[in-house]
């Protein structure tokens, strides 16, 4: 559900082997074609080379798990949003068929779409009540700049979604149009109805950071999105490179009791190997007050590195080279399912991936909280 923001990359050396928790595909590939050559553990489901499965937004509703993610309309084709649902088979999540649920507009601000984030609640738009809300970022250029954030609604995650309005809800101002703009939205509900938090990345000319606004989208024809925002403090965070840490490409969730905020973020630097994503994501925790109070700080909970994704049962397994764009598996409202552990979906690339057939793969890792 997130999109990268470019930074200087460096190479990570893997020197040790640790235990990991593998999972595996349960449904055959949707398309026919060459395998991506999976190198690490935790693959959620497999698609063939040329089809992305990345930037997931995933929640469980009862005994069903839904995932909306960025995929390809055709092999190496334009990016669209796809959705799958899964039920448990032999205590493993068995994903069913892929549905293309949302495409970029023909001539609007969101010709190119990225980073879906979905949330369950009560939303009305154009006289219709909807159960599901999606935030995403998009742009109308091929340079990946000048991103804005928009909304869509649906009553069926696996079918088509309705675009809300023709303009974004957060629009990159003209003075910053050469910069990344706004992206990587991550929705968390406040009241299991129309109110919530919208976390998003900001890439200005001088500063990149993650902000959060509160909203009331109960009536999307008269939506309330606060004008101000919190620039999330980075106190307590470190990256692997020297200098101050940056929160980017992050997914957010509340703890099951609602008192804490959890964040899974790309931990810089990015890999020197193309397509230059990070090689690690970090899971951090803070008091819920960090949304409004500069005095709060983060505590690192765990991280997911290539080392942790080596399959100990496969002597040829080297683990994932690039690990980025994490998101928590939550309930439909953005709360973690347990106070003791959670699952994180993240995107990966293999070292062997070569352009134009970069084909990201979704993988999962279980984190003790």
């Amino acid at each position: 559900m997130k999109k990268k923001i470019l930074f200087v990359a460096s190479l990570l050396s893997i020197v040790t082997l640790v235990a990991c928790k593998p999972t595996g595909p349960s449904i055959p590939p949707y398309e026919d074609g060459e395998s991506k050559g999976l190198k690490g553990t935790g693959t959620v489901f497999d698609e063939v080379l040329g089809f992305n499965t990345k930037d997931a937004s995933v929640f469980e509703d009862g005994d069903t798990r839904y995932v909306v993610y960025a995929s390809s309309e055709s092999k190496n084709g334009k990016q669209v949003f796809a959705a799958r649902k899964a039920t448990k088979v032999d205590n493993q999540w068995a994903y069913q068929e892929k549905h293309i649920v949302f495409k970029g507009s023909e001539n609007g601000w969101d010709k190119n779409i990225f980073n879906p984030s979905i949330l369950k609640g009560q939303f009305s738009y154009g006289g219709t009540n909807y159960q599901y809300l999606m935030a995403y970022n998009g742009n109308d250029n091929s340079d990946g700049v000048n991103n804005h954030i928009g909304l869509a609604v649906s009553n069926d995650i696996l079918s088509s979604w309705t675009r809300v309005g023709t303009t974004p809800i957060i629009q990159n101002p003209e003075i910053f149009e050469a910069s990344y703009g706004f992206g990587s939205p991550s929705l968390v509900s406040y009241n299991q109805q129309g109110r919530g938090y919208l976390f998003y990345a900001v890439g200005e000319r001088e500063v990149s950071f993650t902000a959060v606004k509160t909203f009331d989208f109960s009536d999307l024809d008269n939506m309330v999105l606060e004008a101000g925002y919190t620039s999330l403090p980075i106190t307590g965070l470190t990256d692997k490179v020297e200098g101050e840490a940056i929160i980017l490409n992050a997914g957010f969730a509340l703890s099951s009791d609602g008192t804490s905020v959890y964040m899974v973020r790309d931990r810089l630097p990015q890999s020197a190997n193309r397509p230059n994503q990070t090689t690690e994501v970090e899971i951090d925790k803070a008091n819920i007050g960090i949304i409004t109070d500069l005095g709060q700080s983060w505590t690192a909970v765990d991280n997911i590195t290539g080392l942790k994704t080596i399959d100990p049962t496969d002597e040829e397994s080297l683990g994932w080279d690039q690990i980025y764009s994490g998101e928590f598996v939550t309930d439909p409202y953005g709360k973690l399912l347990s106070s003791s552990k959670c699952e994180v979906y993240y995107s990966t690339y293999n070292e062997e991936s070569t352009s134009p057939s970069y084909s990201a793969t979704l993988a999962m890792y279980e984190v003790n909280l």
């Binding site: 500063v207 101000g228 919190t230 620039s231 403090p233 409004t292 109070d293 500069l294």
Partner: protein, 855 residues
Amino acid sequence: MNKFISKVPLMVAISSLAIGGGLLVHQNVKPFEKVRAAVPQEGDLYGAARVNFKVSSDVDTLATIHIDPGAEGGVSFAGAGLYLRMKNYTGTNTYINTKLKAGNGAMIGPKQGVQQTYYNSTGVEVTYTDIELRDYSNYLILPANFDGYVYMNYSSQMEKAVGSNDKAFRYTAVTMYFEISAKYDTYADFAIGDIFTDTHSILDASTLTVAQFPTNFVNESTDYLNIVQLPRTDEYEPKGDLLGSVNVKTGSAYGGFHVLADGKSANDGVFVRLKNNNASPTTMLTHFNSRNGGRATATANAKYYLYNTEGQSKTEYSYSSEKMLTIPASFDGFLYLPIASYEKNTEWGSGADFVSTDLYAVYFEGVITNMDFGDIATKEVSIYDGSEIYPADLTLHFVSDWDCTLALNEGHAIPPEVEFPYEEVEYLSDIEEGNQVTCVRDTENNTIATFDIVLPQVSDFSSALAITVRMKAISGDFPFFFRIIDEDNNMSQLASNSATKKAKYVNNGAIINASSGGNDHSIKYPNGLDGELIIPVATLEAYNANQADLSKVKAFQVGIAVFYDYDFNAVFGDIGYVVEATQTHVLVLDCSGKSFNDLYQKRDGAEFLKFKEYYSPSECPWIGDVKLLNPLHYGSDAELKEEVTWNEGDNACSYRVMDDGMFVHIGPYEVGHQYGNYMCLQMSEKGVYTDRKVWSRENASGEKELAKGITAYVKNLSRKEIGLTLQIDEYTVENTYERWCITGYPAMYYAWDVNTNAEYTFYCKSDQFQIPVGFEGYVRIPFESYRVPDWCQSTPGVDNELDIERWSGMFYLTSDNTRFEDLEYFIKNVGVYFNETRRGTLFDNSNTIKANMGL
């Protein structure tokens, strides 16, 4: 206040870094003689001023001496550089804040961060490598045990001094100032001797007479500093006076007396300060007795000597064949009796050998018609000091032997001093609705800006022991002349600089001796003092033909030498007098209810002054949890610029009153200005709030609660984001300033836009907080977002721990001229905030800026 002192925010001397001798690494390089081959003289320490401390101060203050060669004719300082013959008597590097102040007020001083050049006493250059330099203020550094010449090239080793005006330094009418911390650097003990340039002599200290010395080496801090003149030659120069001298008369008969010495050593001989009041020479026979009864009498034809009153002009005389010495008619000076000129006398006494190291008495006899005997001493010890005795004690020192009357000269004797207890008087005066006087500009001319305080009616002060003026110096020392004018326009003034010291200040029951204002007849009201100026009537003398008749006083006149003193802000309140007999205070002029025009009359040079009615300072206003330290609400640009100053160039910054705050235009970068590419407005501590330095409050539980950060109301008037700092100075326990600046990312601050009601938390950028395009409202910068910048880390006393209860009173508003040129903003209500603060959301609006301020 003198100009150079008034604008020296970072100038202090710190003992902790002054400790340790400089490492001498090599000599025999650049012989001094070659460097200054054209110098017409060699320097030396003859007649030099030796400076050390009497006492230290509990409060941070500076002890100052100044050297004024101009007092003897105004010698030019022109040349390539300046040589000072100096000596450090301690094993500690000594830091002396040094300024040369020209007649036009411009000042130069040792260049910050640059070492002076040193030569030893024989003119050989010596180099020190471990002397810690200071990159603030203007320090001359005397290495430990240094004895030689300090040289400062005007171009490479001196610079415009901190606190100077912007005028070009002129090398005429120059006064040199030396300042040492009276709290921290009281170990200092050094001498300053001859001063010269590479082309000519400026001051040859050995030529200064006793009378000239204190006008050339002026001790401005007599409460703290000792300054004594070293001998002007290798010859010993006796010192003493006739205070408490003893008048001796034998009439026409031969008589005699002796002066007891209590076993002191006569050493080489004994000096006697005396004055022959007779118009004819007086002949005397002299003896010494030791305590064993041994006696010595002058040897016939041996030598004795006479000196003038200053201990100079030694003249040799011979005892007569009758062993008599002769004091010339009307002689006034010193008589020297060399022990070597005396021989054992067995005619009297015990017959034992005379022991000069165990002196019993010195004997004088003859026909002594009328002669005053003053101080008697050897080179080492005093035998008699009349200034220290009371009449009743005379016989403990002088004993008449026969036909001799001895009388303590009461005119010279110092009676037991009984100070009138001014501090115990209940004063009826106040300062409310008095007249606040500030200087709005200085002048190149030696102008005395003058105004009169006119009494509503002619008043009788004839019962006054002392005239009282309720005063307050809000900022800056306030030197001024004070005169009394009677109905017939006769005027009285303070008698002289020495007399001004008899004036007092009374503040909260404590009494302080006044000091000179620097000009003869002037007085200095100290910075920050809020009390009564006490001018004893006895200290007055006529200003014109006659003294003012105190029974019919019509006005008081105040004069300020705005050529020298322009950085002051003082208030004159009620005027009255003290009655000695009843120890009561009589109020004559009550300022309450009277306007400026009722009481004040401007005279010459009053255009340099600004007057306004004064009301007692109040406590800082609050808006919710915000204590406003500088609301920046001013009625005029002139008032604004008294409080907020900008001294660098004409274009890098302009500011003025706008609505209820301050408008600031950031101008272009100007090469060479003091703060690099940053414009810097200084919000001074001249504010009228009494508690603005108190950055704490009592919380609901009655506990002390410290402020949490800095706040201000800002508005971006441009179409680009503006970066702005709000720096503060912490006054350290080491007597220095620790600057705290906003750090860059990831430091953060709160902001509330009053127009959109949007609330934010922002990251700081480039060590500044930003005023976003279109933003108008309050920002709150937590102290956690401040740190001490790198450039301040080497300042002594910097500990990187913010003690907000030691705020110096200074704010600095700076912006980068290179990035924000031609942008404009508005600012007001600068203060500190106390409540826990959060950004408001749709779900929670408690503890927001708006809620905390009750807006």
